[in-house]
């Protein structure tokens, strides 16, 4: 009979680490996403249409570049890891679990790259 893998005392299993990442990114997202939404809310002192103007959008990206960088990374990591969790809960992939992980990491890398290019070019 196969012996269970011994975990180092106090260490977390892979899925537990995933949940830590989920909770940490979720906590960060509450703050940075609220900030992003407030920039497009009535509290910004503008009509919604005006918050989509080129000058306002680029100005925000330049002035709050670090916050938008954090938003990009946390949203992409939290979002695609969440999709992975939904697929795992519904389909219980065993043999193809590695393919799901590779696909999710590739998508994360792609969208982070596109967003980072935007932040660098506009900034």
């Amino acid at each position: 009979m196969a012996q269970p893998t011994k975990e180092k005392e106090g260490s977390l299993m892979k899925e537990s680490w995933n949940m830590v990442v989920t909770y940490v990114t979720a906590a960060l997202l509450v703050f940075v996403l609220t900030f992003h939404l407030l920039l497009h809310s009535p509290l910004a002192g503008k009509a919604f249409e005006d918050t989509l103007a080129f000058g306002y959008a680029t100005g925000n990206l330049v002035y709050y570049q670090v916050i938008f960088g954090v938003l990009l990374f946390t949203a992409v990591i939290h979002g695609f890891n969440g999709l992975r969790v939904i697929v795992v809960e519904w389909l219980h992939p065993t043999r193809l679990a590695w393919l799901l992980n590779v696909l999710v990491i590739a998508l994360m890398a792609f969208f982070i790259a596109v967003g980072t290019v935007t932040l660098i070019v506009v900034g």
């Binding site: 949940m19 909770y23 979720a26 906590a27 997202l29 509450v30 996403l33 609220t34 939404l37 809310s41 009535p42 009509a47 919604f48 249409e49 989509l52 080129f54 959008a57 680029t58 990206l61 990009l72 949203a75 992409v76 979002g79 695609f80 969440g82 999709l83 939904i86 519904w90 389909l91 219980h92 969208f111 596109v114 967003g115 290019v117 935007t118 070019v121 506009v122």
Partner: protein
Amino acid sequence: MKRDQRYKAGIISSLIPSKFSVERWSYTVHRITGVIMVGYLMAHIFETFQLGGGSTAWANTMAALHSLGPMEMVGLWIVAGSALYHGGNGIRLVLNEAFGRLMGKPILPVYPYSPTSLGRNQKIAVWTITALVLALWVWAGVYLLAGIGVI
């Protein structure tokens, strides 16, 4: 029942909401709103990418979005509602799962079994979040839809 059939039965039964508890409803809506937001996130990253092309590229992108008519703002309103619910319920889940709050004290399992996770504090949290989210969603709706004359 074969393993694959058992999984399919699980998927089908998870789509029948007639016997969902409050917690199960919040679980389902949390996942639906999450998927909506990931879809929007992908589109939003590509949309924002156009800013790098200058004001003309951005104007073309905005013109393409405006050509959707009222659906543009209705779509944004749905995304706003998804973000509000997912965020509010997410705070409850972090308090619950990561810090063990709102769980109540463990009780002896006496028939008919009632999960302690569905205790008074949890139900209050779920309904409070739902009420707050609905109020903010109405506010967002007035802001987004009134500007284009939908309401």
